[in-house]
């Protein structure tokens, strides 16, 4: 804690309030939104004539023939995607941490993370579709197909393609969180001790490190579970349609011209929230069971083996996961320039810029809108994050475990469960349907990611620099602006890039807060999904990806240029 900072200026007096303001900005809309959903779900929505508390909407919901299937789909796809992602991340870390391959995987994380969910889903769809690249690459020599087979690969009824789409995006996120957790515990000593006791490396990792790592990444895992159960854009692209997942169905009811369906949508949103809470409770119980079994396993004395096979398996899975995104993006690029492209040709017969030229006029305003929304929401999130971290430094206002839960609240409470209510409230107050409303809602989702990205580097900064600077005559503000922030330029830019990418990828918040009137690259790309024109979809999805990647490139190059003569900061 930095003592005795000047508290006479208005800015200094406001600083201690920053954490409370930030929590209010993140938690306020979630709570208001959930309340705004619960009201109509129980029949209360005076604007639509709902003055009495009733269960009619729930009766309608459970009378809907697809409710069981949609609910089961939400739970199974969510649990499967989360379990697979977690297992894959654990295997990668267990088999490869500390190796050269692991460092390569670490370097690939940022670009993989920055690819928006929708773009990754489109890319995967273009790979695995019956007329996709995998079918083309294996036809006709292997499959015998001379025309796209009549197979339901995409939007399959079991949600397998949806699970695959979620896994390829959630693995990089969970891996990043795991890497952050690994830096906080003394992993090398624990692993080396186990190795010295004769344990195989993978077994050593799972027995000595995983339990401690999992305790640190529990909240991110819950966020992945809640997200996977309720995601809308990826479900629209890869998920089943008869019926669709519950969250997609809620969106359909929300957007139906028949306004009475708002009651049904709200009831379904409450049901979706209950499903998520129930699944989280079951997941927690499963944690206890696994921990119990794990404790027995730890004391059995089995040293393990099969290190080579596990290494091969995990690396193959990691390569497959990363390739699905990379090849998918490459596929988008080829499609965006494709002229005539018949099946089973691997590449188009001709390449043309026609699709790009035709859509440039429409694309620019959407890019501008996306840029403005992402820039402003990221800037506000960054300011609040820095204010919180500086308040923690100056006034010792460090968030406890409960505050950390609140930080994850917007990521754990399903978007569909509170954004529908928030939209209802926004309509009441006349605040919906404009850019400001979209920015305000984006901040709710950008803030946690910016905070989580920046908090560790900010706290890990050597406080003795600050003491020296103060002994040299700098005040608290001087230490912050002249020493700490310049030294933390790279993590600040990376946190901004993460926030920017999160904002660009937001589909449901943009759609609902913008009431369909604010168009971003994501809303446009997802809207184009139903049209099925791969060339146009590719143009929008690629633009979306490029815009999300740009800040990461800046985060890489700006410090490299600014600090080209500062060896001590090259790896900061």
């Amino acid at each position: 804690m930095t003592p005795r900072c000047d508290t006479t200026t208005a800015r200094a007096r406001l600083l201690p309030w920053a954490p409370f303001l930030t929590l209010a900005i993140m938690v306020g809309p979630v709570v208001a939104g959930v309340l705004g959903t619960i009201g109509p779900a129980f029949g209360y929505m005076p604007a639509l004539g709902g003055d009495a508390i009733t269960l009619t909407a729930f009766v309608m919901l459970f009378d809907w023939p697809g409710i069981t299937r949609a609910s089961v789909l939400s739970v199974t796809t969510g649990v499967a995607a989360t379990s697979l992602s977690l297992l894959l991340v654990a295997l990668i870390c267990a088999a490869w941490s500390g190796s050269r391959a692991f460092r390569i995987i670490e370097r690939m994380l940022s670009p993989l993370l920055s690819v928006p969910h929708a773009a990754a889903a489109f890319g995967l769809a273009f790979l695995i579709a019956p007329s996709g690249w995998i079918a083309r690459a294996t036809s006709p020599w292997l499959t015998g197909w001379d025309r796209p087979p009549d197979l339901l690969i995409l939007q399959d009824p079991l949600g397998l393609s949806l699970i695959a789409g979620l896994v390829v995006k959630e693995v990089p996120f969970l891996l990043l969180m795991t890497l952050a957790a690994l830096t906080q515990i003394r992993t090398v000593q624990a692993r080396d001790t186990a190795l010295a006791l004769g344990y195989a490396p993978v077994t050593a990792w799972f027995k000595t490190i995983f339990p401690r790592v999992y305790a640190q990444i529990r909240l991110p895992v819950y966020a992945v579970l809640a997200f996977s159960m309720t995601v809308v854009d990826v479900s629209l692209i890869l998920g089943p349609t008869t019926p669709s997942t519950l969250s997609v169905q809620i969106l359909k009811w929300m957007n139906d011209p028949d306004l009475s369906l708002r009651f049904l949508a709200s009831a379904a949103a409450v049901w979706q929230l209950a499903l998520v809470i129930g699944t989280l409770i079951l997941w927690r119980l499963a944690e206890f069971a696994v921990a119990r079994l794990g404790r027995i396993w730890v004391t059995t004395g089995t040293r393990g083996g099969a290190t080579r096979s596990i290494k091969a398996l995990s690396l193959t899975a990691a390569i497959l996961s990363a390739s699905a995104i990379a090849l998918g993006i490459l596929g988008l690029l080829v499609w965006s320039f494709a002229g005539f492209w018949s099946f089973p040709d691997l590449l188009p017969g001709t390449f043309t810029t026609r699709t790009w030229m035709r859509h440039t006029t429409n694309l620019w305003p959407v890019i501008t809108e996306t840029l403005i929304i992402a820039s402003v929401s990221t800037f506000v999130a960054l300011l609040l994050t820095l204010a919180c971290l500086e308040a923690e430094e100056r006034h010792g206002l460090k968030p406890g475990t409960r505050a950390l839960w609140l930080l994850y609240l917007p990521l754990i409470v399903p978007q569909i469960a509170f954004l529908t209510g928030l939209q209802t409230l926004a309509i009441y107050t006349g605040l919906d349907g404009n850019r400001t409303a979209v920015i305000a809602v984006h901040i709710v989702f950008v803030l946690p990611y910016v905070f989580l990205s920046l908090a560790d580097p900010f706290r890990a900064w050597d406080a003795r620099y600050g003491r020296v600077a103060r002994a040299l005559g700098a005040g608290c503000d001087g230490v912050l602006w002249r020493v700490r922030l310049p030294m933390l330029l790279r993590p600040i830019l990376i946190a901004s890039a993460v926030g920017f990418a999160v904002s660009i990828g937001q589909f449901l918040p943009t759609l609902l807060a913008g009431a369909g009137r604010v168009q971003t690259l994501t809303t446009e790309a997802v809207a184009l999904a139903s049209g099925g024109d791969r060339r146009v979809i590719s143009v929008y999805a690629l633009s979306q990806t490029a815009l999300a990647l740009l800040p990461f490139a800046l985060a890489l190059f700006v410090p490299a240029i600014l600090w080209r003569n500062r060896r001590g900061l090259r790896h900061a």
Binding site: R4, C5, G396, R467, R470, A471, G473, G478, W563, L569
Partner: protein, 212 residues
């Protein structure tokens, strides 16, 4: 006439009910008081209290006076107490010259005057022409000299040394030690040296206060 030098008047620092430091002493201008003690005995904690950056986890009482003025409740930047740590802690985002300029008080106006001061300071420590250099390209001894000069340029009225020689090799340690004590004497600064190295204490040549 106020008593010149650094006075510690009944300074007691506690943590979790345990007394870490209990000291009353006076260091005259140009004098070096060496504080010795085992790890965890509160040596560095005492320095944090004197410069005003003691963590909130400690309970402290007693006065710190500089040239007769009570500075106990002043902000660290207003105390005019310089400190050197074990590491040089040169700001890695600034050049050698910019690091020195950070130490210069704002009262020295004009770019040309500030540059002249910095060039003269670099010449004093045998690093003329190093202003544009990246601190990370300097040797350990050069970094220590820049760090010392940066601190002196800020115009301190007392100097605290937190084992600043312990990371230097024997040859450089002797030279830097000699330079620091010579500069302190030349500037009439009371010096409080914290160390567990008897050679440092011997070189300082002053009184020794032991913390248990």
């Amino acid at each position: 006439m106020p008593d010149p030098g650094l006075t510690l008047d009944g300074v007691v620092i506690r943590r979790d009910g345990r007394t870490l430091v209990d000291i009353s002493d006076h260091v005259a201008p140009g004098e070096v008081l060496t504080v010795m003690g085992p790890s965890g005995s509160g040596k560095s904690t005492l320095l944090s209290y004197i410069i005003g950056t003691l963590d909130a986890g400690f309970a402290a009482q007693g006065q710190v006076k500089l040239n007769g003025t009570d500075i106990t409740d002043l902000a660290p930047e207003a105390r005019h107490v310089g400190i050197l740590f074990q590491d040089d802690l040169l700001f890695p985002h600034l050049s050698v010259g910019e690091n020195l300029a950070f130490g210069l008080r704002a009262s020295i106006k004009g770019r040309a005057e500030r540059k002249r001061k910095i060039d003269a300071a670099l010449e004093d420590i045998g690093l003329a022409g190093f202003a544009a250099r990246d601190p990370d390209t300097l040797s350990g001894g050069q970094k220590a000299r820049v760090s010392l000069m940066r601190m002196l340029l800020s115009g301190p009225k007392a100097l605290l040394l937190d084992e600043p020689f312990s990371r230097l090799d024997t040859e450089r340690r002797d030279k830097i030690r000699e330079l620091v004590f010579a500069q302190a004497r030349a500037n009439g600064l009371p010096v409080l040296l914290v160390t567990h190295d008897h050679a440092d204490a011997d070189a300082a040549g002053g009184r020794v206060h032991r913390l248990d």
